[in-house]
């Protein structure tokens, strides 16, 4: 049963209005913001009850929970925004356990003076992402901080999901001989975001690959419940993620540079800035480590899914007490793909 919408004397001025400290104060102003902006957009049964929590039933079994803060700048980029990213990222973190996502929470920390038009745009984008993924935002929170104390808006989302029986996917499960797969091209998201940074000033048609991967994962888990590792190579890119996994599992890896899919424009942008695509963030791709016997079946399933058309086998795991990720370069030489120190910076040298 949906409760009737509360009415407020005047609707929010989306066109010219800005968030101010009263919107975080817990009073009528905040209620209006929550009603007209958040609840109207996310619109689901649990949320519409307007409680401080969202209630839902769960099947028995193993649950996973995850959370992430989204502080991306710029807020809007080709192919997405902080809102859609906040949904996709958290849905994906649930999915990387092989779990089926159930619901999300969303908390907003908004800087005083933030335009309501931008906030509405972000929330609409989140709602769209949430609905398309079939994972509702059932509870949330709103705070407003003084001007200068926030970068426009920060969003934190948490997500829960259920792990199907018989699935034990974890970063420490990779074994020597296992095969490494990626679901598609590397570096799209990072390049799309960088293209918006004025000081770098380049134009590109590259869109962020931000997407919810749970349906791809579901298909993969059905085809091969024995998948060892799933992870999405976000910050730090493919290279950092492989290094993480190698450390967790206590193994090394050997990958083929020529096998790693990278779009020509991403290559071009990385060349221009002196970046390595292996270290550039992705928001709609996954790495899968599986037994050799499962590799072909998984690749077929992945390539049959819209988000995995360019899935490729890039290498294999092996014994290595140093946990090196070694790569055979396109030239036939060898190099290590090291763990990135901090963020990659564009260079002139």
């Amino acid at each position: 049963m949906t409760l009737p919408r509360r009415t407020h004397p005047r609707p929010l001025d989306i066109v010219l209005g800005r968030v101010d400290l009263t919107h975080g104060g817990g009073g009528r102003a905040m209620a209006q913001l929550v009603d007209e902006l958040f609840i109207a957009a996310f619109d689901n049964e649990a949320l519409n009850r307007r409680n401080d929590q969202g209630a839902f039933d769960v099947p028995g079994g193993r649950m996973v929970m995850t959370t992430d803060g989204y502080v991306i700048s710029p807020l809007f980029f080709p192919g997405g925004d902080i809102g859609s990213l906040a949904v996709h990222g958290t849905v994906n973190d649930v999915a990387m356990a092989g779990a089926v996502p159930i619901s999300l929470s969303a908390s907003f920390i908004i800087e005083e003076g933030f335009p309501l038009a931008d906030l509405k745009r972000i929330v609409a984008s989140m709602a769209k992402a949430s609905k398309e993924a079939g994972v509702p935002v059932i509870t949330g929170d709103t705070k407003v901080v003084e001007k200068g104390k926030g970068d426009g808006v920060f969003i934190t989302t948490a997500g829960v999901g259920m792990v199907p029986p018989g699935v034990a996917i974890s970063g420490d499960q990779a074994r020597p001989g296992d095969v490494i797969l990626v679901s598609g091209t590397m570096g799209d998201h990072g390049v799309a975001v960088m293209s918006q940074r004025e000081s770098l000033g380049f134009e590109t048609a590259i869109l962020s690959d931000s997407a919810a991967l749970h349906t791809l994962v579901a298909a993969m888990v059905t085809a091969a419940p024995g998948i060892r590792v799933l992870r999405d190579p976000t910050r730090g890119g493919l290279a950092s993620t492989l290094n993480e996994i190698a450390g967790q599992s206590g193994i090394g890896m050997l990958i083929e540079e020529a096998a790693i899919p990278v779009r020509p424009e991403v290559k071009g942008a990385c060349e221009l800035l002196g970046l390595d695509p292996l270290y550039v963030a992705n928001e709609g791709k996954l790495i899968c480590i599986c037994a050799e016997a499962d590799a072909e079946a998984l690749l077929t399933v992945m390539r049959g899914h819209p988000l995995g058309r360019e899935a490729a086998r890039i290498g294999a795991c092996r014994e290595d007490s140093h946990h090196f990720i070694q790569m055979r370069t396109a030239m036939g030489g060898n190099r290590v793909v090291d763990w990135l120190a901090g963020e990659q910076l564009p260079r002139i040298c």
């Binding site: 000033g201 380049f202 424009e265 221009l272 030239m331 036939g332 060898n334 260079r347 002139i348 040298c349």
Partner: protein
């Protein structure tokens, strides 16, 4: 030491600059250090400036030199 890339000049702009394209990425660069650049030329770009023009004939010759291998066969990498 100096990260510089060959890029295709796609448009000449006022203020001694040009639009260039590298692998689908478009960028505006300064032509202050080169003369007589035309649309269709390839220039070497470094920190937002064109440093020199690529000579297509020399480029072709260099590639041809790579081919000059006579009876030598490719060695598999160690």
């Amino acid at each position: 030491m100096c990260l510089a890339l060959p890029a295709l000049v796609t448009e000449l702009l006022p203020d001694d600059s040009a639009k260039v394209n590298l692998g689908g990425i478009a960028k505006t660069v300064s032509l202050a250090l080169v003369d007589g650049v035309a649309v269709g030329d390839y220039v070497i770009v470094h920190v937002g400036y064109a440093l020199s023009r690529i000579d297509p004939e020399e480029a072709a010759e260099t590639l041809a030199l790579f081919e000059q291998l006579g009876q030598f066969e490719a060695e598999p990498a160690a």
